[in-house]
Symmetry: C2
Subunit: 219 residues, 2 copies
């Protein structure tokens, strides 16, 4: 394989990036074939990791009982979140669908084994969270790979870590970094749900660019 990426290949990559969505409402029940899932997880496993630690694991959940228990945990955490809001913003929040745990055919919990490869991890000596960041790199690679397979994915972050650890039998040194819902979809919307529904606007990229040092007028 030539290492050069052609213009056509580059356009395909960008298409994947720009059509990726955080999917909550459009899941179809159709099962993801094993070979497709294997390609997605193998791509995720080729994410970068600090000190080549490869700290991630992937727990694939199809069992309805587990999904129902996770859904219950979401409801509790989400109700608690809504209590922090009031008035119109609370109503707007409560009207949003924020997960597709039971409708999606596959849930994946991506974890970080914080002790993998031992005490000394090259590159993790000044920031001990670099293993968690590597795991997030795997999550984002998984997300884009799923999109490249025309599979939708949503990240459910409104869950308490200790609850998930209990449900999935995680040992102390293994942290659940992301709880993901995957499946084929009826549609990929052209914009994020939170933008379409007026929760927050898309910011201009220019607002995020600084030359040489931080400029506070960009905030």
């Amino acid at each position: 394989m030539s290492e050069h990426i052609t213009e056509q290949e580059r356009e395909a990559f960008y298409k994947t990036v720009y059509t990726r969505r955080d999917v909550r409402s459009e899941f179809l029940p159709e099962r993801i074939p094993d070979d497709v899932l294997s390609r997605i997880l193998t791509a995720a496993h080729h994410a970068p990791s600090v000190g080549f630690m490869q700290p991630w694991d992937f727990i694939c959940i199809k069992n309805n009982k587990t999904k129902q228990a996770v859904k219950q945990a979401f409801i509790i955490a989400n109700n608690k979140a809504a209590e922090r809001l009031s008035g119109e913003r609370k109503q707007q929040y409560q009207a949003l669908k924020l997960e597709g745990i039971t409708e999606s055919p596959l849930n994946i919990c991506v974890t970080c084994n914080r002790t993998r490869t031992g005490d000394f991890v090259l590159g993790r000596t000044t920031n001990s969270d670099m293993d968690l960041y590597s795991t997030v790199c795997a999550v984002q690679t998984l997300w884009l790979a799923a999109r490249a397979e025309n599979i939708g994915m949503g990240w459910v972050s409104i869950l308490h870590e200790e609850k998930l650890k209990g449900l999935l039998n995680l040992p102390d040194h293994v942290v659940p970094v992301a709880y993901l819902c995957l499946g084929y979809v009826s549609k990929f919307h052209d914009k994020p749900d939170l933008e379409r529904k007026g929760w927050l606007p898309r910011r201009k990229v220019e607002q995020h660019l600084h030359n040489e040092i931080w400029r506070s007028n960009k905030e």
Copy 2:
């Protein structure tokens, strides 16, 4: 644009994932054109973010004086890291080139503004680090976009946060998540440096897959 990803497009995406490297030694001095850099940063800006917070900023550094200061900060942090090792492993560590700060034409510090969009961030109510994770999603998207543009990138994690904040004039609420070196390269190696040089082996993806719950025999 059709939302369907074709097999050919999918192959192009996977080629980008599998040929991405953490580059330290192969940088060429050639400047990255503005339109290319703009495409890379715009792709990164389309990463997913918790509550559509878009917490990231990108500080582009070309100034040699800043690069030299960051390089000095790296040397101090790296010497400190090496002190934790001894014997053959220490020698092996010290022989590795772990950054390309001054050789790469462009450094980018990706930061996380922890207060962006205010007190209540949708989806960050149970895990306050979700904004940092969103920023890492932007870093990994930036990394893959750079690769799609045939540009190499390395993540320098051996730096003290407070030192970087001082050098780049970051306010208290803005955290430097990643310090990146970018440039065209003489070569993309077919395997990660740390694998090629025998620091750690590539693990089999099967060791990372669990069905329904965590299985400790996979560790």
